[in-house]
């Protein structure tokens, strides 16, 4: 059933902007014809994004150690991990992070953590987000699809001055694809610049290469209201992140701002990421945490 002509017909539909049927999505979600699926996703990616692949060098710190850790000058973003238990600690952590970050955009927190902190009180949420903006928060780092019951919170955060940077998928399990479909359904009301379709949590049974690149390709094909499909460099490693670029991904998140020390050998991370992007026949474009282009790395 899923021979070359079936994929061609699906490709024609996608090119004409026709939505795929439930049964077509089900077939794509299960297909073992990985390279054909990848070709569809790659074609769509190139149509939307050309031959650019963006990446961002991210300094990571917790809300308590950002000042000690500091921000390397190569960083395009400072991302805070963790969420303090009170509003005042939250605001203080952003204030201190913004002070040391200077011009580097600061992001942090998961949307559901902020919603919980405000006990789902809309007015309190709006006030908190506005205050975070004043203290220097550029983006809420993520909205976790499985923990988002109402996408209206995404729009509220944006309206209050701090948009969400990316949708993330927590579960590695098979329902990851339903998470993609939820994002696709939420549409423009919950506009977010990026989607990171690969699971953020490690499970006992690690995902396979097929599962990962299939998920990336499906994200590109099913979710048409989001510009960037992201893969995390540190979490998934250079090999898979690079291959994902040929399966519909167009943005590499979480690149280290320092040198990588792999197997005891010091390597320039910038050299490695740009080399990997070029070897995937794409042009490396460095961006910052506000999704602004910093530099195109021509050969």
């Amino acid at each position: 059933m899923t021979d070359a002509s079936w994929f061609e017909a699906v490709g024609d539909k996608l090119r004409d902007g026709v939505s795929l049927s439930e049964s077509e999505i089900a077939v794509l979600s299960e297909t073992r014809d990985l390279v054909r699926l990848g070709a569809l996703a790659d074609e769509r990616r190139r149509r939307l994004r050309g031959d650019r692949a963006t990446f961002v060098r991210v300094a990571e710190a917790t809300t308590t150690d950002a000042v000690e850790v500091g921000v390397p000058r190569q960083a395009g973003e400072l991302r805070l991990a963790g969420c303090p238990a009170t509003d005042s600690l939250l605001l203080q952590s952003v204030r201190e992070a913004a002070r040391i970050a200077g011009d580097v955009p600061v992001s942090g927190f998961a949307l559901d953590e902020l919603v919980d902190l405000c006990r789902r009180d809309v007015a309190r949420f709006d006030d908190l987000v506005a205050a975070l903006r004043t203290e220097g928060l550029a983006y809420i780092a993520e909205a976790r699809v499985e923990r988002t019951e109402d996408p209206a919170w995404v729009a509220r955060a944006s309206a209050a001055g701090v948009p969400v940077a990316r949708w993330t998928v927590c579960d590695q399990a098979a329902d990851g694809n339903s998470a993609l479909q939820r994002v696709a359904r939420w549409g423009g009301d919950a506009a977010v610049p990026a989607l990171a379709p690969l699971s953020r949590t490690l499970s006992e049974k690690p995902s396979t290469g097929y599962e990962d690149v299939r998920r990336v390709a499906l994200a590109r094909l099913l979710v048409d209201n989001i510009d960037s499909i992201q893969v995390d460099w540190r979490r998934y490693g250079p090999q898979l992140a690079q291959v994902a670029l040929t399966f519909g991904a167009d943005d590499i998140d979480g690149v280290s701002p320092g040198d990588s020390e792999e197997h005891g050998t010091r390597r320039s991370t910038l050299g490695e990421i740009t080399r990997n992007i070029r070897a995937a026949c794409l042009v490396p474009v460095e961006r910052d945490g506000r999704f602004r282009t910093l530099r195109t790395h021509h050969q």
Binding site: R32, L34, V35, R36, G38, A39, D42, P206, T208, G209, Y210, E211, D212, V213, G237, P238, Q239, L240, Q242, V243, L245, T246, E262, H263, G264, T265, R267, G271, E272, R275, N276, A279, A280, C281
Partner: protein
């Protein structure tokens, strides 16, 4: 013009024709990764329509790390007399064989450095001793440069060395040491002295003529150009036309860490493209292995979509790639999970690619393996007693024997 050439080359592949060097180069340099993969996958599917993906349970034992060849891409070797140089004793090797049999394995992949203190008789005695203990256990041993080293050491023709090793119990020869079969590249890598391209091919020809089956390999990603990778593949294809003795082809990328050559390693996409190219050029090879040992499990599994039909070995032990920093491990359970997840049917095989059956762990309980073993525990500097039976050639070896 280029797109016309690409179309012609694609058509040639789809029509079952043979790629020449120019066609191969245009596909390699100008076809997108997905298109190259689709083409390789179609060729793989035509050759293996049963969707079976095989693997072997064997152990990769490196009997010595002492080597006089000094290839500049090698992180494994130690100089003669080095404090961390080692030679495994026969008893250590027997113990490894027993462990291999316990997890369902039936073969050693036995390779090592060019150690001047191990004469031909050492190998013959070892092989005979193994076969006496386990007559059905297979010895897939000594790549062509090791055969050439023994030929020089014993001042016997390579053909005679092979005959004597076969008489002692050698079953097949691994395709290691090929690197890139282009002498310009071999001179750069300081491996021209251990074997020229023609010498490597000649040893394989002798082996095939002696009735042995062998594998073929390619290590890419050093100083070679794309056309030289293709030249390498064409030399293998030519010998395969002549003898039909290769069972499989395995390619992996240079692992630069801890090597004199240094530099950076090739990327995952380059690996998949190179594998796909090999499937297209090597139209007379049945089997292409995935190199998960160098690429990791994920890209290793993706190899099955880019032309590979074999997941290689449940290795149990690995020392060479580990010296260059990569240390991936997949036991039989993991290999089977990856094969099935990709939609293929896993089958155990032997070196001749004869199917042996379903996964062992589905028939009986075998211990899970979460890390590959090493040749020896760190700090073990013991010297096997039987080494004294073989006259040393190196100064360090002579001193040890006279002490």
């Amino acid at each position: 013009m280029t797109s016309r050439r690409i179309d012609d080359a694609v058509r040639r592949v789809l029509d079952g024709g043979r790629l020449g060097p120019a066609d191969a180069l245009v596909l390699y340099t100008d076809l997108s990764t997905n298109e190259l993969g689709q083409l390789a996958d179609a060729v793989r599917a035509a050759r293996h329509p049963d969707r079976i993906v095989t693997y072997i349970i064997d152990r990769n034992v490196n009997y010595t790390n002492v080597c006089v060849a000094r290839c500049n891409f090698c992180a494994f070797y130690r100089e003669v007399g080095a404090t961390d140089g080692y030679v495994l004793g026969f008893d250590e090797i027997f113990a490894k064989i027993d462990e291999t049999i316990a997890v369902g394995g039936m073969q050693l992949l036995l390779q090592g450095g060019h150690n001047p203190d191990l004469p031909l008789a050492w190998y013959e005695d070892l092989f005979r001793a193994v076969k006496t203990r386990h007559p059905d256990f297979k010895l897939h041993a000594l790549s062509p440069p090791e055969v050439i080293h023994l030929s020089r050491l014993s001042q016997l023709p390579a053909r005679t060395v092979i005959d004597r090793l076969v008489a002692a119990g050698l079953d097949s020869i691994p395709g290691g040491g090929a690197e890139i079969l282009v002498d310009r590249v071999r001179k750069h890598l300081n491996c021209y002295g251990k074997a020229t391209a023609t010498e490597w091919i000649d040893v394989m020809r002798h082996a095939h003529e002696a009735g042995l089956r062998t594998t073929a390999t390619m290590m890419y990603g050093t100083v070679e150009r794309p056309d030289e990778r293709i030249e390498h593949l064409l030399r293998l294809r030519e010998l395969q036309d002549e003898t039909g003795g290769f069972t499989a082809f395995i390619t992996w990328s240079f692992q630069p860490s801890n090597t004199e050559l240094g530099g950076v390693g090739a990327t995952g996409v380059e690996y998949l493209r190179t594998l796909a190219l090999a499937r297209l050029v090597l139209d007379n090879f049945d089997n292409l292995q995935a190199s998960w040992v160098t690429q990791g499990g994920k890209v290793g599994q993706l190899s099955l979509a880019y032309g590979a039909n074999d997941m290689g070995s449940v290795m149990i032990e690995e020392n060479v790639v580990r010296s260059a920093g990569a240390a991936y491990c997949m036991d039989e359970v993991e290999i089977v999970r990856n094969i099935e997840d990709a939609g293929f049917v896993p089958k155990r095989r032997d070196m001749q690619y004869k199917t042996l059956g379903d996964p062992v762990f589905r028939e009986r309980q075998v211990p899970r393996m979460t890390a590959l073993a090493t040749a020896r525990d760190a700090g073990d500097t013991s010297v096997p007693v039987e080494l004294d039976r073989y006259p040393a050639r190196s100064l360090a070896g002579k001193r040890r024997q006279s002490a």
